[in-house]
């Protein structure tokens, strides 16, 4: 693969009109619109999937067998089928199942809903591992001290859970940054799609590398922020 890419990379750089700094910034400028779309998708997905994941996690841990089974089924479907398929179902499903006419605006909502539903399943399992990592003794101490169930969760379990789950959550968030490129399955134009389009027009793969650089920088920022958070949560160890 690399052997294939490198010579073509060199030739595309050697074309004078496609190697200058001006051209490079031109590509960045064009990509920035897609970058914004990717960023919005990223932020909104996190905003909705994280609390939703907590709900799914509660359902998964429910005393009621039926609720637990539903949550298990949900998680297995969301983790066991391709995200791209889920996006297609969320977007086209309303029409093909209920004959609801779709508006173009719905592309955006469908992308957010699809991503949030999918990531909620992953977050639910991460939360669950975090909750289960809190020793039983913590619950017993809270019980003897008279904390209610809700107090025990909010004051004792949740803060400890957050610390346990930060590393896997970081992983998931980084994956999400890159997964945003899947949104084009339902014609949600994000950065990578733009990069492919520019690449097709200009007959060079440079825009794809620029996009790659964008993702990399984005993820550097994410890793750095999560690292800071992890450090902050490490006040006790």
């Amino acid at each position: 693969m690399a052997a294939l890419l490198v010579p073509s990379l060199l030739t595309s750089c050697s074309l004078d009109d496609k190697s200058g700094l001006g051209w490079f910034f031109g590509v960045i400028l064009q990509l920035s619109e897609g970058m914004w779309a990717s960023l919005v998708l990223f932020v909104l997905t996190l905003l909705f999937s994280m609390p939703l994941g907590l709900l799914v996690c509660f359902a998964r841990r429910s005393r009621f067998k039926v609720v637990e089974l539903i949550a298990k089924f949900y998680i297995s479907i969301m983790r066991g089928t391709p995200l791209m398929l889920q996006l297609l179902v969320v977007y086209f499903g309303p029409y093909f199942v209920f004959k609801v006419a779709l508006s173009t605006e719905y592309r955006f909502y469908a992308a957010i809903i699809g991503f949030a539903l999918n990531y909620a399943a992953y977050f639910a399992e991460i939360y669950r591992s975090g909750i289960e990592a809190v020793p039983k003794g913590q619950y017993e101490a809270a019980h003897v001290l008279g904390y209610t169930k809700a107090q025990t969760f909010m004051k004792i379990v949740f803060p400890q859970m957050v610390r346990h789950i930060l590393p896997p959550v970081t992983n998931e968030v980084i994956t999400l940054v890159k997964d945003t490129s899947l949104a084009f399955a339902i014609a949600f134009v994000e950065m990578f799609t733009l990069a492919k389009q520019i690449s097709a027009t200009e007959s060079t793969i440079m825009p794809l590398f620029v996009a790659g650089l964008f993702y990399y920088i984005f993820n550097l920022v994410v890793s750095y922020a999560m690292g800071l958070l992890e450090k902050k949560m490490n006040y006790y160890s």
């Binding site: 905003l47 809700a150 389009q197």
Partner: protein, 276 residues
């Protein structure tokens, strides 16, 4: 903490409910567009990685191309608003059937899909040709024997070589290759050709001309063609009303020379077959 959580969930629910409200409004517009003269927008679905028919302009960042320019002119003459919707080519049927786009107008091959859509008259004759390196010793289709040949996956060229409707000669030709590689897009296929990973690439003549030109003498075309096929505008099956309107305007544009003028901008004038 609990309050924040509740608030977030509430916001999530409201936002998820909004599109259904929107789509409710949208549906009345849409049914109107299909019904009669009340059409206000024409949503054209296209693959934005398909120059010169539809692509992103490097200078303006706008979507343009031969097909999009034609569509723009058709809309102008009908006093419609044109909405250019780049789509994932693999989802084109879902997009069309669910009504999120009104037509597929994007170097869309009729042959082999005659019964799947309501078609306009063909406007481009698009043959499948073979692109090889400038200094390659391949001169004819026969020289492809034992060579590695690339096509875009799910493309007309692939269908022409190995599809159910492929001719006997083409099937034989494909069988004589050392290997027929499927590559996701033209761009990668040509990169493969340039780097020597494949010996030839089969593709649509329009794209091939554009690419050969843009390559600055890296590639050339074989004189032999694999197949001849035609492009049309695909509408949802049964939507003859919209098809008739677009087609009528297109024919008018052909008569007064507008189509040819636009075709020249994209070096497609040789492939035009409208009104012939």
């Amino acid at each position: 903490m609990k309050k924040t959580l509740a608030l977030l969930l509430a916001v999530a629910m409201i936002i998820t409910a909004v599109p259904f409200v929107f789509s409710g409004c949208g549906s009345s517009d849409k049914s109107g567009s299909k019904a009669d003269t009340a059409t206000t927008t024409l949503t054209v679905g296209f693959d934005a990685e398909f120059p010169p028919y539809g692509y992103k302009d490097e200078k303006t960042g706008e979507y343009k191309g031969f097909d999009l320019d034609l569509a723009a002119e058709v809309c102008k003459r009908n006093n419609w608003e044109l909405k250019k919707q780049p789509i994932d080519w693999d989802s084109k049927d879902m997009e069309l059937n669910s009504g999120t786009i009104d037509c597929i107008w994007n170097g869309f091959t009729i042959n082999g899909r005659e019964d799947d859509y309501t078609w306009s008259v063909p406007y481009i004759d698009n043959s499948q040709v073979v692109v090889v390196g400038k200094s390659s010793d391949i001169k004819s289709l026969a020289d492809l024997k034992g060579k590695t040949v690339a096509v875009q996956s799910d493309s007309s060229a692939l269908a022409a070589l190995t599809g159910d409707d492929a001719t006997k000669e083409n099937k034989k030709l494909a069988a004589s290759f050392k290997e027929l590689q499927q590559i996701p897009n033209y761009e990668t296929a040509l990169l493969n050709l340039e780097s020597g990973a494949v010996d030839a690439v089969c593709m649509d003549i329009g794209v091939a001309n554009y690419k050969v030109e843009a390559s600055k003498d890296k590639f050339r075309l074989l004189d032999d063609q694999i197949s001849s096929e035609q492009y049309g505008i695909g509408f949802k099956k049964g939507n003859t009303e919209l098809k008739d309107k677009v087609e009528k305007t297109l024919l008018e544009m052909s008569k007064d020379g507008t189509v040819e003028k636009i075709a020249k901008e994209y070096k497609l004038e040789d492939a035009l077959c409208l009104g012939k």
